[in-house]
Structures are given as C-alpha cells and as structure tokens.
Symmetry: C2
Subunit: 135 residues, 2 copies
Amino acid sequence: MTAIPEKLPESLEMYLETILLLQNKGEKVRQVDIARAMGFARSSVHATVNKLMDMGLLKTDTAGGIDFTPAGKKLAQNVYERHYVFAHFLVSIGVDPITAQTDACKIEHDVSQLTFERIKAFCERNCPPLLDPED
Amino acid sequence: MTAIPEKLPESLEMYLETILLLQNKGEKVRQVDIARAMGFARSSVHATVNKLMDMGLLKTDTAGGIDFTPAGKKLAQNVYERHYVFAHFLVSIGVDPITAQTDACKIEHDVSQLTFERIKAFCERNCPPLLDPED
DNA sequence: AATAAATGTTAGTCTTACCTAACAATTCTG
DNA sequence: CAGAATTGTTAGGTAAGACTAACATTTATT
C-alpha cells in the first residue's frame, strides 16, 4: 500500500482521466484499452496500473476489468472537471476546440485550486452554460 | 552542437528564464548564481548550462560570465513574456499575486502560441495596461 | 479439446533531470 | 603571495516514466 502523494504526478492523473473516459464509453476497461488510448506499451500501463492499485485508487472489478475505488473516482472526476472547465474557457476566449483540448490537457495538471475556481467563476459569468462533466 | 528541439523542455526554459531575470538585475551571471536562484546543485547547473551552450543558446561573455546568444535571448524573452502575460491575466480574474506567479510559471511552458495570443488579447481588452516585460 | 490470438507480466534498457562527493581551478584576503 | 574560500568540473548514483523483447496466461475459434 503506497501512500497517495499530496499532488498526484501529471502522468498518474492522465491515467485516471483516461480510465474515466473509457469507463464512460460503457465498456469494461482493460490494460490494453488504456494502452491503446494513451499510445503506450502494455508493459508501461501494467506498471502504472499496479502502482495506482497499490495506492488504493484502482481495483479489479468483478468481471476482471479495471475500476476505480471511491478515492480514485473522486480524483479522476476532479481532473476531468478541470479539463472540462479549462477547455471551455479557452474556447470562450477564441481558441479553436482542438487546440483548447490539448492545452487544457496540460494546464489541468498544473494550476492551483484557486486559479481553477477563478476560471470556473469566469466561465459561469461570461460563457454559455456548462454541460455536466458527467456526460 | 546539439540541435535545438522544436519545443524546448520545461526545465531548459526555466534555466533561460532564470538567467534573464538574473541578467536584468544587472550583475554578471555565473553558474553559482543560477544554482542559488533555482535551488539546484552546482553540478546540475553545470550540466545544463553546457547543454544550452552546446545548443547555441548561451555563451560565455567577455568577463567570463554566462550570456545569451541572440537565439537564446529571444527564447528567454519569449518565455518571460508568457509568464508575464499569464500572471497578469490570473491576477485580473482575482487570483492573488503569489499564486498567480506560481501558476503562471507552470502554464508558461505548456500552452500553444494561439492560447497565449488569446489570453494576451483578453488582457489588452479587459485589464489595466501591461507594463513592458523588459523592465 | 487443441491451437491461435489476445492480453497480462517480467526483465532489462533508455533518457531526463536531479543529487552527493571529491577534486581542480580560480579568486579573495590577510 | 600563501592560505582559505569560492566556483567550476567530473564521476557516479537515483527516480520517474517511457521502451522492447520474451514469456505466461487467458480467451476465442475451429
């Protein structure tokens, strides 16, 4: 049981976010699905999934696939909400959607809670309504 | 003579930015000054400064200190302008200056030229006038 | 059920970017 | 100008996070 660091490294956040997106497509998530989605070797995914399980963020589900623990799900949703808000914000100031996605994907791991909240508030004041990140 | 990659890694950008800040204080810049400013060991700075020289971004000045080549200066100023604009933007939406600095310091290495330009344009429309980044 | 394909696992390697420790060269100071 | 302190350099080490290749296990197909 490895401890969860105060701030999860970007790479681990990306794994969690990817798994959440795959889950939301409705299929059982396997290592190989993560590998394909991220463009990594299966062996790399294996090592990282093991680490995330060791941290208590992932578990194997009843069907033998990969699933979140409650703590893992919370973190994944948090990362995804950041992504969503930053991408939305960037589009709202005139960045094209493709670039907004890639830039949001980097920013989402970096900025403080405070900055996130300010950007979110900015969107709520100035942008068309946010869709639910759960979709 | 190592090639300059299309996108300089964050760590190298931080070295360039730090050197620019030190230069702007008016003193000759030595390895040990960089090491102190960044909180790194002299040996780490040595390796990286060598690499940046090998890339043709830094050179030794006449007094034996470290100076930019024209290409290096351009890159350093570019990084610093990003930093400046992002920090300014964050403050303008209600982030406190300390947090704005640390967040800008991460974002500055990550986002596309387009996003940078949009944020800059946003500032020009909505914020008090920018000071000159050269100061 | 046997074989083929897909998936998971292990072992070993690479790069980046930091570190400490020891040594060399330079610079400062009495 | 000699010793002390500072600065620069070299050697070797570590951790993260990716890789390939080989092997093991599971799943699918005939």
